[in-house]
Symmetry: C2
Amino acid sequence: MYRLPEDPSQINGNVFHNDCPARFLLSKIASKWSLLTIDALDGRPKRNGELLRQVEGISQKMLTQTLKDLEKMKIVVRVDMKTVPPHVEYHLTFKGKELREKICSLDRWVEDNMLELIVGHSDLSLIS
Amino acid sequence: MYRLPEDPSQINGNVFHNDCPARFLLSKIASKWSLLTIDALDGRPKRNGELLRQVEGISQKMLTQTLKDLEKMKIVVRVDMKTVPPHVEYHLTFKGKELREKICSLDRWVEDNMLELIVGHSDLSLIS
DNA sequence: CCGTATCCTACCAGATACTG
DNA sequence: CAGTATCTGGTAGGATACGG
């Protein structure tokens, strides 16, 4: 549980500070599945099933939870077409698109440098 | 535990793939304390105690663990002056500096947008 | 000053089953 | 199709004590 000061408009973010909301938000944004979900929202809006397939290994539960967190932060918007069968789309907001650039920059860097980064990890075996 | 394909030099990173090493590496790099520790390594090398004070709330255990992980990935280098009392410095490598830019970009964005991101979180109380 | 080594717990997240 | 609900094990990480 985090506490905000009396007048939030006066504080400027500082992730190094224990009680700064930025730290809480960062932990949500930089979580394992959040990073991948935001990355997956490339260009066009995506549906629940699409994301489930694209982000390999994510469970329905974690996808829902992640999307709800992102929605709270106004990073994504949930658009329910109110049809039957259900058709729901998840859109990145303007802020979401801003954020996605930062995240993709990080993700692509890790992918590009993968082989050099992994050398120290002898615990990653080569066996089947 | 993650498994690498027989010939790692042939694979190109893809964080969306379940068994891609990039996903494992990303989880290490984007962990709560890793994000803050790398950010804290600004410009000059830092000592254990400095980092402990700068990254509020981190424990000695987690700092050590985080730095070891980063060292494995050649993101930081541990320089032991072999003096008594001990003097140890942690330096960012070239790759580390590259990575730090991405991370700082993310951290600063979260800080700058903190107040707008937090509105949906009614669970963050204003009381003392 | 810079760490290790243990113990211990809260929470994360996977598995599974059910619903409009 | 797009979720919810519940149970449960594993583990991240805090607290504490000790060591070179």
